[in-house]
């Protein structure tokens, strides 16, 4: 007779006590909570303006996954770089892009972070070591490899944190990248944000696995770990270990975080609740596994934060978000002439190469 293991929500390890977390100041911890709240409010605000017709195309919301981007970015040093897929607003705000430029980009405005040329899936801030924002599933995984290659080539002690979803793990270029990461000893950290669904297809219906997705790294002799993505401290402890491996040994790691998205694959996904997953499942995650509530509870419990302070932070974020919408609304659209800017470096700079020969063929 098999004994049923007792179900427990208590993690066997208290990651708050991990050295990387124990050394955090109260201010740092509250700031990270605020960063998560900022992402959530930004996303929810974007959704309502999408519904009002202010935003075109796709909109992939990060609600429910905030601890992963904020935790990862909080560990980055000067030579650590980050790149992700199309669910990229959370990572963008976490690295320090401001809400104005992000909201304006969604509104298709010239003041947007990509001058209105990229849209929701294509936020970039190379000055903050943030390399996008990529629309093709797993297309960013070789780029992350290249960032790590560049770091190693230049002799810099850094890491490339390359995020991907659970749907991206079944693309070939990801495995080619894993092979090369191991073969070349590159300091790349692949972070799988497993939210359970590749668009409308559940993990069970999309991936043949034994224990988990990250385990596939074993085939390439790469260290891997599976962890919960709802606890900021766990996220930080797990990624820090990988960063140390990248910095000290120039070795790759594959990390898989279990997480959950509260909305659909994108706003165009009409079956996200009651279709391929039940409303109860969504509500259960919001109730029991919400990364913001988990961190808030910890901070309040440790008396680092009061309810009043939390409300004040939330109000401050609400103001910031409203101002971003105002900024986006009042900003101009790009000019028609700007269609031909930012295509070629040499043309933009009007170098000799940019003035030689015909680059565009409109007439």
């Amino acid at each position: 007779m098999t004994e049923t293991p007792a179900e427990t929500e208590v993690s066997p390890v208290d990651y708050a006590k991990a050295p990387i977390n124990a050394s955090l100041s109260p201010e740092d911890q509250v700031r990270m909570l605020k960063d998560m709240i900022r992402i959530r409010r930004f996303e929810t605000t974007a959704l309502s303006h999408y519904q009002q017709g202010k935003i075109g195309g796709f909109l992939h919301l990060y609600n429910g996954q905030e601890a992963i981007a904020v935790g990862a970015v909080s560990l980055m040093g000067d030579n650590d770089h980050i790149i992700t897929a199309y669910r990229d607003h959370g990572h963008a705000l976490a690295v320090g892009m401001n809400m104005n430029e992000c909201m304006a980009e969604l509104f298709g405005k010239a003041t947007g972070c990509s001058k209105g040329k990229g849209g929701s899936m294509h936020f970039f801030a190379p000055d903050k070591n943030y390399w996008g924002g990529h629309g093709i599933v797993a297309g960013q995984t070789p780029l992350g490899l290249g960032l790590a290659y560049g770091l190693k080539y230049k002799g810099l002690k850094g890491a490339a944190l390359c995020f991907l979803g659970d749907g991206a793990v079944n693309q070939g270029c990801f495995y080619e990248s894993l092979n090369m990461a191991a073969l070349f000893d590159l300091p790349v950290i692949y972070i799988i944000e497993n939210n359970g669904y590749s668009m409308g297809t559940s993990l069970e219906r999309s991936s043949s696995i034994d224990k988990c997705l990250a385990q596939r790294a074993e085939a390439f002799c790469i260290d891997w770990v599976q962890a919960k993505g709802e606890d900021l401290y766990e996220v930080r402890a797990v990624i820090q270990e990988a960063i140390t491996r990248a910095h000290e040994a120039s070795k790759p790691t594959v990390i898989e975080f279990d997480t959950y998205r509260y909305y659909g694959h994108s706003v165009a996904d009409s079956r996200w609740k009651g279709g391929y997953r039940t409303a109860e499942e969504v509500e259960k995650h919001k109730r029991d596994h919400d990364p913001i509530q988990i961190l808030k509870k910890r901070l309040v419990g440790a008396k680092l934060l009061s309810e009043e302070q939390y409300e004040a932070i939330d109000a401050e974020v609400k103001t910031e978000t409203n101002e971003a919408v105002k900024f986006a609304n009042e900003s101009p659209f790009p000019t028609e002439a700007s269609i031909f800017e930012d295509v070629y470096f040499e043309v933009d700079r009007q170098t000799e190469a940019g003035r030689t020969g015909r680059h565009f063929f409109n007439d």
Binding site: H81, S114, K117, L143, L145, L147, Y153, M180, H359
Partner: protein, 324 residues
């Protein structure tokens, strides 16, 4: 001037640029220890070592993407595709990442990469290995496309391509690697977007790029000796950017044009050039623009028949005589 092969000319370009710029790195399948599948990189690994000349596994999507990512950080990777026909498995990395990242980031990110390799038919390796993708790639704003017909051009254009700050797709040709030309010992570069008049003429213009230019030159000699017709041969060298003025000047001079193109005719490079001539030099034309392209079917294996599928001297002559 010394006579060297097209292969040696490229090799010299790589060696000179590796020595000139510490960010230049050659990456690809068999480029290092094997000396290159076509020996284009012969001796470079021995001379410059593991850091500057790097072998990869057979993973075009990953290593081309790796080069793109590294270029975003400031490296100048020169990536070899053993055949440009293999671009298919790396197409997302080439067109979406190399080709679009500057635009989609509003100009924040540059991609100074060169992707190079042979792009030709005529070697009896079947349809999958015989593509000429310059038209596929030139159709992507953000990419630049270069095609060299001679050793002199190959060296000068390659050095410019490596120094260029945009992604440059460089088309070589296995049938030309062993061809010898005069190449000066002193350093030179050839700007992208400047065509070269390979033969001055007055009666008809043959315009094209790559190996088709050499076929056109042979046809021009026959026209001169057997028909007393003086053909001009214009080598585009660079497809995007394109030297529109050189094309139109030649048309205004000769009033008759045959476009020669190893691309297939449908949406081939010559289709774009033809449209340009029609719009901008219509009144200068004394005859319809003619085109001689690869015959419009997948590349056939059978060696003698494949030779007929590419533009031949005979087809160029027939087309020229039909509009003279």
């Amino acid at each position: 001037m010394p006579l060297i092969t097209y292969r040696e000319a490229l090799n010299q370009a790589f060696a000179e640029e590796i020595e000139r710029d510490p960010n230049v790195v050659l990456i690809g399948e068999e480029v290092a220890q094997y000396d290159g599948a076509y020996k284009v990189t012969e001796g470079l690994w021995k001379k410059f070592g593991d850091k500057r000349v790097v072998d990869t596994p057979i993973s075009e999507a990953a290593f081309i993407g790796m080069g793109v990512g590294a270029s975003m950080l400031g490296l100048r990777p020169v990536m070899e595709l053993m055949f440009w026909s293999f671009a298919g498995v790396a197409y997302d990395q080439i067109i979406n990442n190399a080709g679009q990242v500057r635009y989609m980031s509003g100009g924040l990110i540059n991609c100074p990469i060169v992707i190079r390799g042979p792009a030709n038919g005529g070697t009896s390796v079947g349809a999958t290995h015989s593509h000429t993708p310059e038209n596929w790639l030139a159709a992507i704003p953000g990419l630049k496309v270069v095609s060299a017909a001679t050793a002199y051009d190959a060296k000068g254009l390659m050095k410019t391509a490596i120094r260029d700050n945009d992604p440059v797709m460089f088309m070589e040709n296995t049938l030309l690697y062993g061809e010898q030309y005069e190449v000066p010992e002193e350093e030179y570069v050839i700007p992208l977007g400047v065509a070269d008049i390979k033969r001055e003429g007055t009666d008809i213009s043959f315009i094209g790029h790559g190996r088709a230019i050499l076929t056109a030159l042979k046809a021009a000699e026959i026209l001169a000796s057997e028909h007393n017709i003086n053909a001009e041969v214009v080598d585009l060298r660079s497809i995007r950017p394109l030297d529109e003025e050189a094309i139109l000047n030649s048309v205004r001079k000769t009033h008759r044009v045959v476009l020669v193109d190893e691309n297939k005719p449908f949406c081939g490079v010559s289709a774009q050039v033809s449209s340009m001539i029609m719009e901008k030099a219509f009144d200068d034309l004394d005859a319809p623009v003619g085109r001689v392209c690869s015959l419009d079917a997948p590349a056939i294996y059978s060696p003698p028949v494949e030779k007929l599928q590419l533009p031949t001297v005979e087809r160029i002559l027939a087309k020229a005589l039909s509009i003279l």
